[in-house]
Amino acid sequence: MIGLFVFAALAVIGGFFLSRRAALVRASTSGVRMHSRAGYHGYLAGWLIGIPTFVVLSLLLTFAPDMSRLVAFALVAATALGMFAIAYTLARPDFRARTHVERIVQAALGACSVVAVLTTLGIIASLLYESILFFAEVSPIEFLTGLQWSPQTALRADQQGQSGAFGAVPVFTGTFLVMAVAIVVAGPIGLMIAIYLSEYANKRVRSIVKPVIEILAGIPTVVYGFFGLLAVGPTIRAFGESMGFEAPTQSAIAAGSVMGVMIIPLVSSLSDDVINAVPQTMRDGSYALGATKFETTSNVVFAAALPGIMGAFVLAISRAIGETMIVVMAAGRAANLTANPFEAVTTVTVQIVALLTGDQEFDSAKTRAAFALGLVLFVITLVLNVFALNIVRKYREKYE
């Protein structure tokens, strides 16, 4: 198999050199002025041989992996040689090789951007397909309004109520609770950092503090999760004990506060951008009226930057809802319907992980429930992202 790939690659390289030479030789013997530089004849040969050969090769591997090596080799070699014959005849000095190469290059580049669309389509198709199968078994109304979430029972076929309980409301409230805690931490702190760095700090402080805050964004989420488990959870537990109530190590507040720390740089750098985009003349106008720095910042700069800051907050919310590892490790797994952040909760992402890790059959309502949750997650974050990106773009246009 690797031999075939090597053969195809060699055919491309060989085609390049032979066609380039052919173009040069023909030009010098016939005396016709070349339209394209010789290299373009080579590139054209490379593309002409490469594309069909690799297509044939991939088709063979996908649909007839057991085909005898000799036949496979013959097919690949025939394609390569045939295409080479075409390319070789085309390598005449008056042939407009460059135009053709450039057209192929443009098409190839276009194909790259189509991959982005295909990815989105793939996500939507796979989530929808499994979700529709899921909703054939569990009614969407039960899923979206049911108060009991215990998909585990679906595994025990002999039990009563074997379909399990797929009321996802506790999962949604848990997600919301963790997100709320995260935003309460990250929102004000991220915003204050942005305001301080853009309005109060001098250049030197800014050049040191900004990268340090950005470090928080570069730390992998699994590290935050372990930090929640190792340090923050036990601290909150000890705090609860000292205040006379019981707080488990894994709780909404443990996961939410760690997540908040993770999101601080997102809020601060996005807000920083929008605050910096507020024209200096607006500040100067405010100072000219005798306003203090605080009054200028809060009444003029903040007010002007508000839409952009809103956008930053919405993106932060979307990020918090989709975050997985921190909640998997620090929020617990119990599907409690509660508004108390000191209790263990479960979230959409945690449930997706819980339902799909380990050895599973992929045709039960239990695994399909994960895709239904994924669909909800995708739709909500999509709406939030589009909304936020729109605000931010409109805001930018306003001051540009």
């Binding site: 991959v115 805050i213 570069g218 699994v222 605080f294």
Partner: protein, 430 residues
């Protein structure tokens, strides 16, 4: 100051004082916010370094083992299969019973045997005897890791001020360990196992080598796919695409793709590549593909920014000398944008290296005790290994999880450092 000015009345002065106080309170709040963020970072780093640092050393015990022929190879034929399956556990037990003179007391026997890593010691002896069968019948000096509980005790990670029955190490074991430490039979050495071994059920034998190789293979696939696709799509949208509804749609699509939760990409990988195309579970190939989908928008956005930053004079200059549009883009714009593209891609790859959730979806959480050698073999990845270890109950896993995190962070620092260095080295100011 003139007395007639409304700005000098008592009320105005009091108000001004208040306004200035509000300003300084606000200023202090800004400082406090920064202090909070930095304190959180320091707390995170110090708690992980604090628990992880001790995992870089490991206590080993040296003892003599009599390789009794009766026990290991009663037939006397030195048959390789017999030697592989021989009862090395028994000779280790005998050696330790002898060393601590425990007699027939079951309790003390268990305690003596519990000092050493069972699989660690037997593996070492098996390996030696297998390569040199003439060792059977002789006495051999073995240096093996101590058991994970004793190791934790010796590192001071276990409290001993609770009742003996609740403890993971007994009084006898503590006494023996102190004695052995004094005589040099137990000593602490650098924990090479952590770097050279794959995963294991026993913390004292577990390492991150398999996970690192798995991560590298995954990153390789990710880079090979995401880099050309990301740069290609960016060049198309920035330089070729007509401005119409279609390209607007693609653009919104890509911006949105960069903000899709990572776990959704895992669901895509599971549904499309595992269930539909039937690709192997737990393989770096699928992991790499899934991470490539995530990384490609990042690379694309960075490439577009880099292309935008190249002054138009360069492109116009190329055109005026007779270059075609494609020649101007590929021969002049792209090379000038290369530093930006490179740093953006490196940062995107660093993010992919730390990503865990999508890999859980495609089964890279499997317990893999071998170092993978190809992209289709089951493998783990470093962040997934961290997640798996953090989930394990024994105390010894805690320090190893932290140590694995330190190794992952070291990779991150190197990669991001490389990006910063490249940027400062190659960046052009126009």
């Amino acid at each position: 100051m003139s007395s007639g000015s409304p700005h000098t009345t008592a009320r105005a002065v009091a108000m001004l004082k208040k306004r200035r106080r509000a300003n300084s309170v606000f200023h202090a709040l800004g400082v406090a916010a920064i202090a909070f963020a930095i304190a959180a970072l320091v707390w995170l780093m110090s708690s992980i370094v604090g628990t992880g640092i001790s995992a870089f050393t490991q206590n080993v015990i040296t003892f003599e083992v009599v390789l009794d022929e009766e026990e290991l190879d009663p037939s006397g034929e030195r048959d390789p299969d017999a030697l592989r399956l021989a009862n090395y556990r028994a000779v280790v037990q005998d050696a330790l019973y002898e060393r601590f003179d425990v007699g027939d007391d079951r309790q003390r026997r268990q305690e003596a045997f519990g000092l050493v890593s069972t699989s660690g010691a037997t593996d070492i002896i098996r390996q030696q005897v297998f390569t040199d069968p003439s060792l059977v019948g002789t006495t051999m000096t073995v240096t093996a890791p101590v058991s994970d509980d004793l190791d934790q005790y010796l590192k001071g990670n276990l409290t001993t001020d609770i009742d003996e029955s609740l403890r993971r190490v007994s009084d006898n074991q503590i006494a023996w360990a102190q004695e052995l430490k004094a005589s040099g039979e137990i000593k602490s050495q650098f924990n090479w196992t952590l770097f050279t071994a794959p995963d294991s059920r026993d913390p004292e034998l577990a390492g991150v080598a398999g996970a690192i190789v798995g991560s590298l293979l995954t990153m390789l696939v990710t880079f090979v796919l995401a880099f050309p696709l990301g740069v290609g799509a960016a060049v198309y949208l920035e330089e070729y695409a007509p401005k119409n509804r279609m390209t607007d749609f693609v653009e919104i699509n890509i911006n949105n793709l960069a903000a899709v939760p990572s776990i959704v990409f895992g669901l895509l990988g599971l549904a499309v590549f595992l269930n539909f195309f039937g690709m192997p579970r737990s393989a770096p190939l699928v992991g790499g593909i899934v991470l490539a989908f995530m990384t490609f928008p990042t690379i694309m956005i960075a490439t577009r920014a880099a292309l935008k930053a190249v002054p138009s004079g360069i492109y116009d200059g190329a055109l005026s000398l007779g270059a075609s549009h494609t020649q101007a883009v590929f021969h002049h714009k792209l090379p000038n944008a290369a530093p930006g593209i490179l740093t953006g891609s490196i940062i995107g790859m660093a993010r992919a290296l730390g990503e865990t959730a999508p890999l859980l979806m495609i089964g890279m959480v499997a317990f893999v005790t071998e170092i993978p050698s190809s992209i289709t073999e089951p493998a783990s990845a470093l962040p997934v290994q961290i997640f798996l270890w953090s989930d394990s109950a024994e105390v010894a896993w805690e320090e190893r999880t932290s140590a694995a995190i330190l190794i992952l962070l070291a990779f991150m620092i190197v990669i991001n450092g490389a990006a910063i260095w490249l940027r400062s080295k190659l960046e052009k100011r126009w």
